[in-house]
Symmetry: C2
């Protein structure tokens, strides 16, 4: 009797403990489909889900100030992006389960599955044990066709959260393998980062994709042969080391744009049962990590062109379409304001930049090889001027330029605006000296990291200098924790007004797609 009583007590405690675990994990594990917001309209048949990676207010607003500077020089203001003209505009918090500043895996999981998870995890619970069903998979179950597009490698964290479940984003072979084995219909943009694995010893995943019935195309000219309904992987022929598309500012005519990939998606996926398409502007984030405003702005504009492609489709199917545009987090601590320029902005100066930090690094590497013996600041300046417009102007020249500028000489005005101050020159000279050192012997202290963030020191000093001259500054080489804007047009768009969390972006979209009802129905 006593013993049994003791046992009962033990059992009771065990049950209590188990209950406590459930309670503690409860908020993380509660099925988000069971708490969808009310939506009584017709379920959306066509859903475009846009994610500007690293895109928050500063990125969008910078692109708008830049557009105005280019299109209406002299007229202060902001030329609104297509996404900024959507009727619904909300704000979204982005923190992950374990950090105020999220990574793209956790924020992607929140957007794709409606669950908060730990940074680094792809659509699974924080322990990496429970697989979360993605909104794309739910759409597929519903009979919709599904497309996933990204300007970075298609197996990068954000797109991965829509088709894969992995305990870590670093599983760079398993993730695209899940893509090849998925029943989705269209993957496009940047390609597979390591198609044969880290050690190049695994079966080639492009072969696997073809085995599984995907057509693989790499040039625009092949688009025409693709029939609607065909399962397709369409990646750009030229991809960078990571498998990503080139930066928009570097894009060659032969490179396929994010908008073109979106248009192809529409043509392939349009069918009587509708489609769900996720389109990521992933290189906005990468440009912001590198504190390159020029590259970030051009990629934001390219992303907005993809939004415009969706808008064109929406205009033909306004009563059946939903377009959502969100960001997964801010990146770089970008702002429209720099201490040195105080209240002034000179975004037109960014027009002098004609390549990304990444392409400049390539050119700089060539220059270094050719100038190993005497890598002087004077000698590198022609390269700098050619690609960033920045120039060294002597005191005597300065006087002449000022006189000419006063008389309205346009070229003189540009030279004055782009002339480096003594401080700026000193900063660049120090950075060049660091840049000339082999990466192994470069200074690795805290101060050096704050200046260059692990990027090529000279290139970083150049983008910082040009950005600051334009009136843009950065605080970090990582993401930040400020909220991001979310915009929507079409069916149920009103739900996207307000200030809400990233898991709510999933819930609102799912509600408008009628997914909650489907789930309830199938559970009965």
């Amino acid at each position: 009797m006593r013993r049994s009583c003791f046992l009962t007590k033990g059992l009771g405690l065990a049950i209590l403990a188990a209950l406590a675990v459930v309670l503690v994990q409860g908020s993380a594990l509660a099925d988000p489909l069971k708490s969808l917001p009310a939506y009584n309209g017709k379920p959306a048949k066509y859903v475009f889900f846009f994610i500007g990676d690293g895109m928050a207010n500063p990125q969008r607003a910078s692109a708008e100030v830049y557009l105005q500077a280019v299109q209406k020089p002299g007229e202060v203001g902001m030329t609104k992006l297509a996404m900024s003209r959507f009727p619904a505009q909300g704000m979204t918090s982005t923190y992950s389960l374990n950090a105020v500043i999220t990574d793209s895996a956790a924020s992607g999981t929140a957007l794709a599955c409606g669950y908060k998870t730990k940074s680094g995890v792809i659509s699974m619970d924080p322990a990496g044990k429970v697989k979360y069903k993605t909104i794309a998979a739910l759409a597929k179950e519903r009979g919709m066709k599904v497309g996933i597009i990204s300007s970075v490698d298609i197996d990068h964290a954000t797109p991965a959260t829509f088709y894969a479940n992995e305990p870590t984003r670093k599983n760079y072979y398993n993730i695209p393998k899940q893509m090849c084995e998925s029943d989705f219909d269209y993957f496009a943009g940047g390609g597979i980062k390591r198609p044969e694995g880290k050690k190049h010893d695994q079966p080639n995943l492009y072969d696997l994709a073809r085995e599984k019935g995907f057509a693989t195309v790499f040039v625009r000219e092949q688009f025409e042969d693709l029939k609607p309904g065909r399962r397709v992987m369409a990646f750009n022929a030229y991809l960078d080391n990571s498998g990503a598309l080139p930066y928009e500012i570097d894009r060659d005519k032969s490179d396929i744009s994010l908008a073109e990939f979106t248009e192809l998606g529409i043509r392939l996926l349009d069918n009587p049962d509708g489609f769900f398409m996720m389109i990521e502007g992933g290189k906005i984030d990468w440009a912001c990590h590198a504190n390159d405003a020029g590259a970030a702005i051009h990629d934001t504009l390219a992303f907005d062109k993809a939004v415009q492609a969706a808008l064109k489709f929406y205009e033909k199917h306004p009563s059946e379409t939903l377009i959502v545009v969100t960001g997964d987090h801010e990146c770089g601590g970008m702002t429209i304001g720099f201490a040195g320029t105080k209240y002034a902005s000179f975004f037109d100066k960014l027009k002098n930049q004609n390549l990304s930090y990444q392409e400049f690094e390539v050119k700089l590497a060539d220059w270094k090889k050719a100038n190993k013996k005497d890598p002087s600041f004077e000698k590198v300046m022609p390269l700098v001027e050619r690609h960033f417009g920045l120039r060294v102007v002597s005191k005597d020249e300065l006087k002449i330029l000022k006189a000419k500028a006063k008389d309205g000489d346009k070229e003189a005005k540009i030279s004055l605006a782009m002339a480096l101050s003594e401080r700026e020159q000193a900063v660049l000279e120090t950075a060049l000296a660091q840049s000339m050192l082999d990466n192994k012997v470069r200074s690795k202290d805290e101060y050096t990291y704050l200046l260059y963030g692990g990027y090529d020191p000279f290139t970083m000093a150049l983008t910082h200098t040009l950005n600051n001259k334009a009136g843009i500054a950065w605080t970090s080489f990582s993401h930040t924790g400020v909220p991001v804007p979310t915009s929507a047009i079409g069916l149920g768009n009103q739900l996207f007004n307000g200030y809400y969390d990233n898991v709510d972006v999933f819930k609102k979209t799912a509600a408008i797609m009628g997914l909650g009802q489907a789930r309830t129905a199938s559970a009965q």
Copy 2:
């Protein structure tokens, strides 16, 4: 005939030229009341118009992360402010007629009058010739009572745009003179900056206020004697050099809070014809200019408490009240992210700060006097540790602390978290050396400005160091050009969803107050 024809031609050209002027200035001069958005509801009887000066997403989100860190330590997330829980949440662009980065005069004019103007101008056209009627004056014409409250001097740009018309915000005698001569009912918070003018040779404006029928009160104890309906100026007894309230983080029990001034306003102004009350959180901006996150967050929380006071009133009159909360611009280029802390945030470290940069400067000045002969870094550190928690820890101590912290010693953990790195110590030592110099001989070059922005170098280095350790960073000592959030609750709040310009905040509020109809009616 020829001559007359010539004359006619001349006249024609003159008319054309005049027309061109009208067209060019057209957008600036068009009466905003003639383009109000549609609003078919009952006009709002009670209107609270809150402006967080320098308050954008980073300021609001920082306060929310801080609240969470204080109230729910260890649980990642954001505890939402009252304003963030309002049903309508929009984004507002803030540029002025001549600058992407506005000042408070131009943005105040846009919010108060619905017109874009040049930075620096108080509710007039850019030439300083045409006076714009403010929403407060329109409310007064409607028979509503009007109150204007600010935590900075009541004649500062933002509050001034609601009751004065001046070609420049610098007219620091004319502006409060217009306040005294106005028919408004309640002015409160910070006082008059220079009641007897710059040279102390003008009639005292407090006397003028009393002559004009205002009761003037300076301590909380006198509040009870004030009868509803009485015209009142209620300023805090203690005001700083500029006439502003103390920072919330420095507030003494005897100092009256922004929330208390709001509550007094409600008691005095509540009447059958309703009221319009503008409440400015002005010191958020000043703290951000000085890159002092601790002070900024506490003033944002104090501002939100004033919002809560209005909410209490709203809950009693939900069908007659509108509360709008906006910002006039961002300030400081604040972000939740610093290169050195990468993806981590440590907002709990801000709890170690117990005064504002301003109060610290006072204490530092005393210390300087006492330590003129040997102002060593070691000697100033006790003062620093007392007020910011930052401490110097030797390598040997570090080892001991790490061991203790590993065993769960709380004090050791704090010491470790607040220990200065070698780089941070070097930065502070340099700043102390600069600080010890007379302002006249301090370095004035570009580089020094970027570091200290004209503030006391040591104090600035301290707030920067503490903020950075918490994971907060800044890019400017001025405003920035990113959009600000606007929140609303009550009558017609839905109008405040979306992404719109600051002149639209005026228009939406005016529409919900029924002011457009009044104007049309009186014009007939």
